[in-house]
């Protein structure tokens, strides 16, 4: 069972993942780019809004503030954020599980590259 927490946006999900270790805004963008192999590039406005919302929710906290350069504000995930992330992973697992169960076996058996190609042909 995956609990009742609302689905996270991709941005929030990758921000939280990027903040398992203290990180600043630009670091979050870079980390997300790496994790998604260049697919998801977070815009600065999107990131700023999401960080403020997450601070309000108590899912992340300020880690340090460089007094000389305000550009280097660092954030870190909180225990609450960690729990939320785990919940979301459970929910996503349920999604993928159900998808695998119901979609044709041939599709699931392909490796990642082949699956991607198959989808590309259709789209």
């Amino acid at each position: 069972m995956a609990g009742k927490q609302a689905a996270m946006t991709e941005a929030v999900y990758y921000i939280l993942l990027s903040l398992r270790t203290p990180n600043h805004g630009y670091g979050i963008i870079q980390n997300t780019l790496e994790l998604t192999e260049g697919r998801l590039e977070l815009g600065a406005g999107t990131l700023y809004g999401a960080l403020n919302t997450l601070l309000d929710k108590g899912w992340i906290q300020l880690y340090s503030e460089d007094k000389h350069s305000r550009k280097k504000k660092q954030y870190q995930i909180t225990e609450l954020g960690e729990k939320a992330l785990q919940q979301e992973i459970l929910r996503l697992e349920e999604l993928v599980e159900n998808g695998r169960k119901i979609m044709s076996q041939s599709f699931v058996k392909l490796d990642k590259e082949e699956r991607y190609e198959e989808v590309q042909v259709v789209l």
């Binding site: 946006t9 941005a11 590039e41 600065a44 406005g45 999107t46 809004g49 999401a50 305000r70």
Partner: protein, 184 residues
């Protein structure tokens, strides 16, 4: 080079600034509808017009605004200027794509902020216009001066026209928001 333009639609404004830049003119200043351009190598920058998230407040404090600008600049962009609630940024095209808002949720947030601004300004102007209209209708006969009256009524006409444009913009933005919701 200076150019005078009045934009209600920030997407169109953005388009125009990028088009000017592709012709070798980079925007550096804005004042009361007058855009100042400086020569640049064609297509050097990508421009973005922003109405930053005030986080529930009517207006960003100076500190918050500075912080937001610093934040955006730390991602490789450059602050150009601000006007009222709007802020304009640019980024060198060779440093990569430049989009401030990259998902439907935050784009919806942006358009909601713009819509709210237009609604508030529109309502304020409407209140003003109604009050003035009532006033003019009660001017006493002996105080009528055709010259002054034509002037006053045309001023009022301009205000009603602005209200109409704002209303049209509110409708267009609402449509944009609906389209974004459908995308989600």
């Amino acid at each position: 080079m200076r150019k005078f333009r009045l934009y209600y639609d920030k997407d169109k404004e953005e388009e125009w600034l990028n088009e000017m830049c592709s012709k070798g003119w980079s925007m550096t200043k804005f004042f009361l509808g007058v855009y100042t351009f400086e020569p640049c190598s064609p297509g050097k920058y990508t421009y973005q017009v922003d109405l930053p998230d005030t986080h529930g407040k009517i207006r960003m404090g100076d500190g918050e605004k500075r912080e937001y600008i610093d934040f955006v600049e730390s991602t490789g962009a450059e602050y150009v200027c601000s006007w009222g609630f709007y802020v304009i940024f640019r980024k060198e095209a060779e440093k990569g794509t430049f989009k401030l808002y990259t998902d439907a949720e935050s784009k919806i947030g942006l358009y909601r902020r713009i819509r709210l601004l237009f609604l508030v300004v529109g309502l304020m102007e409407f209140g003003l216009a109604i009050g003035q209209t009532a006033n003019y209708l009660h001017i006493e006969e002996e105080l009528w001066d055709p010259g002054i009256n034509i002037f006053l009524w045309s001023c009022l006409g301009v205000i009603y026209l602005i209200i109409l444009v704002l209303l049209v913009m509110v409708i267009r933005i609402t449509r944009k928001i609906h389209r974004l919701k459908y995308q989600k």
